[in-house]
């Protein structure tokens, strides 16, 4: 088992290094210094800045140093725009992002799997048909529209029409700067719950259909007929036999949605003003803040790779055929 994990980690390391390589190359296609200083900068200024940032060194040297920095988790390079260490910016931004993505992932998984189970249990009947119809209809509207309308009807309109609302339209100056601010329940409900609900609605269409399909397909397996031949009840068959086997594709799917929540949070963070990783990144892009962009994207890629490895490990835990090789 440990050998399996080790193998997975070792396999993914070169993949990650390759991604960093690709990343660094792409980011240097347009000269970052030029982009940052703008057209009016003189060649000398550009030269100075470039030297300062070590961007005039050979590419491989830069690559080597950057990888080394990542390994040591050293993000002390300073942001060009804000002059703060990148590491500090990231540390402040991780919390708010997690306040949105973690509950989104958790709630979406639980609710979608439950609905998928219910739909497959009552397969073909009106419960099933209605749920699946809603799912399809929900999938045909853009994420952006859900955010805009959600923000309006969830926060803005109640405040206008009723004078007050549970959800804030967006993060404003009253928000404190301390770490963990968004994890205080009152603050969370006020600033984070609406975005989480929106994420939920968006993801549910796809996920419930998928989980339902997984369960339905499980139901066609031979060993389900064996179970039925032994006298198992429909409930036992679904929640014991099918579910344990279905866990494999379900878990895989849940893990795959993780990255979506990182992308998804960009839109939500921008609209609701949450000072998380997504918004930091967008601001950095607009300001052409090279170190920040490089660091955050490398970090996100690392999260992705860790997710991949975790998925494989979970696979092994759930499927004895994988485990006992």
């Amino acid at each position: 088992m440990w050998a399996y994990i080790l193998r997975k980690i070792l396999y993914n390391i070169p993949v990650y290094l390759g991604i960093i390589l690709l990343l660094m190359v792409l980011l240097r296609v347009n000269d970052p210094v030029y982009a940052f200083l703008g057209k009016s900068a003189s060649p000398e200024q550009i030269q100075v800045k470039r030297h300062e940032m070590g961007l005039d060194r050979p590419f491989l040297a830069q690559y080597r140093d950057f990888v080394w920095d990542i390994l040591r988790m050293d993000f002390s390079q300073r942001s060009w725009e804000q002059k703060r260490p990148v590491g500090q910016m990231i540390r402040k931004a991780v919390g708010p992002s997690l306040a949105i993505t973690a509950p989104s992932l958790f709630l979406t998984a639980i609710i979608s799997v439950t609905i998928g189970l219910i739909a497959s249990f009552y397969r073909g009947r009106s419960v099933d048909r209605t749920l699946m119809l809603l799912a399809v209809l929900g999938m045909c509207v853009s994420y952006l529209v859900y955010i805009i309308l959600g923000q309006y009807f969830g926060a803005y309109w109640p405040r206008k029409a009723l004078g007050t609302s549970v959800f804030a339209v967006s993060v404003d100056a009253t928000v404190g700067d301390e770490a963990g601010y968004f994890f205080v329940p009152a603050n969370w409900v006020r600033f984070c719950m609406l975005p989480v609900l929106i994420n939920l609605v968006v993801a549910m269409g796809y996920d419930t259909r998928f989980y339902r399909a997984v369960m339905v397909e499980e139901g066609t397996r031979d060993y389900i007929i064996t179970a039925k031949a032994k006298g198992a009840s429909k409930r036992k068959i679904m929640f014991v036999h099918m579910l344990k086997n279905a866990m494999i594709p379900i878990v895989t799917r849940v893990m795959i949605t993780l990255p979506f929540l990182i992308t998804g949070s960009i839109l939500v963070e921008m609209y609701f003003g949450i000072p998380g990783m997504g918004r930091t990144l967008i601001n950095a892009i607009n300001a052409k803040d090279f170190p920040v962009i490089q660091a955050i994207t490398a970090l996100l890629a690392a999260v992705m790779i860790v997710t991949v490895i975790l998925t494989d490990v979970l696979y092994a835990l759930l499927d004895p055929r994988v485990r006992l090789q």
């Binding site: 993949v15 980011l27 982009a35 045909c140 805009i148 960009i266 962009i293 994207t297």
Partner: protein, 442 residues
Amino acid sequence: MIRRVLRSRGVRKLRQNRWAMLALGVIGLYVVVALFMLATDAVEGIGQRTGGFTIKDRPVLGMLLVDKTLDRVGPNSVPGFFLRDRPERRLEHHQAYLDAVERALNAKDPEAALAELRFGSLRPADLGPDKLRELVDEGWALFDEVDEIYEQIDEAEGQSPGGDQATAPGAGEGEAPNIADLDAAVSDKIDQIEPIVRALFPIPDGLDGFLYRLKMLLGTDRQGRSILIRTVYSIKIALEVGFVTALLAVLVGSILGAAGAYFGGWVDHVVIWLFSTFSSIPSLVLLTVLAFMFTGSRFDGTLIPLYTAFSLTFWIGPCRVIRGEVLKVKELEYVQAATSIGFGRVYILLRHILPNTAYLMFINFSLLFIGAVKGEVILTFLGLGLKNGASWGIMISQSASEVIEGRFWQISAATAFMFGLVLAFNTLTDALQDAFDPKHVS
């Protein structure tokens, strides 16, 4: 051969599916409209380049040209569906009309100015400068009356501390006017301005009038542009993006996947490595990098960043699926039979294996089409899409600020049209899977 395909079991099953046929019909409709726009744009382009002719001014043919999406057709933010705006807004619209005529009348050569004047697609009435001046003055007079009533309302509100009560307390001497009555009076007055505006800018009869009403049907956006025209033009963009993306992704993915699975060995290793690596790049990272690369470059504002983003990520799905299927089919007996008869490898791949994976390609095409259409909205919002012209992405992004003011026309129109297209494709995907996938259970 086409007839043989049409009679095959899967296609027959598909034809029996009424929802699928409806969906295909809807898609066909969208395609026809898009082709129309493609054609007119092409014709106009040719016309302009050869300097020979233009169809810009033709009422129907020229209606959906790309430039027309940027034309103002009316005052800003007019609501659609014949609904009426609040009185203050209507006042603003009327004011816009009056201002336009007044400006022309005050020009050095009023006749010429009037001849050239357009408000959106309407022209001023052919009544001569004097009569027009009369009408304008009438209009301003009514404006003054409206202002008076507003003053009265202000006073009335000033007298009653809460301001929003229906009647002011009769604390002062004389009658305290009823605010609700005053509001009604304002509305009436504003209604009286309307015929004047109509007289100044009459809606023409016949085809032109019909087209005008059509363009105003869904209202106008912040810059007075017709939401209907823009929404319909966006169909062309959406279909273009969807079709090109899905086609390329399916082709590239299928070829790579089939090649890897069929030829095995190092080819397969390369293919696996490719899609493993590409799928390990979080899409956010990719988008970021692309945003960084493209903003400010000469491709900014075209569809190129969009296509780049899609082509780097969309090919992976079909590749995996086709590769898996070819791996399975490769081991089936009929392939082994064909090999033992002596057919060449490429021939077997093309003639025996790929036709059996064709349905998967169609299903993937459909799915990726939807992904591209929806992705365009988000990427445009993030700055990676079109910046000029019209697309659902542009419309929805712009509507964000309008919604705050309670104006839902643009977002509703764009969402509704997109909904129709995406729903049709979703239905089609399900139907395709139902009909062609032997293992599919509904």
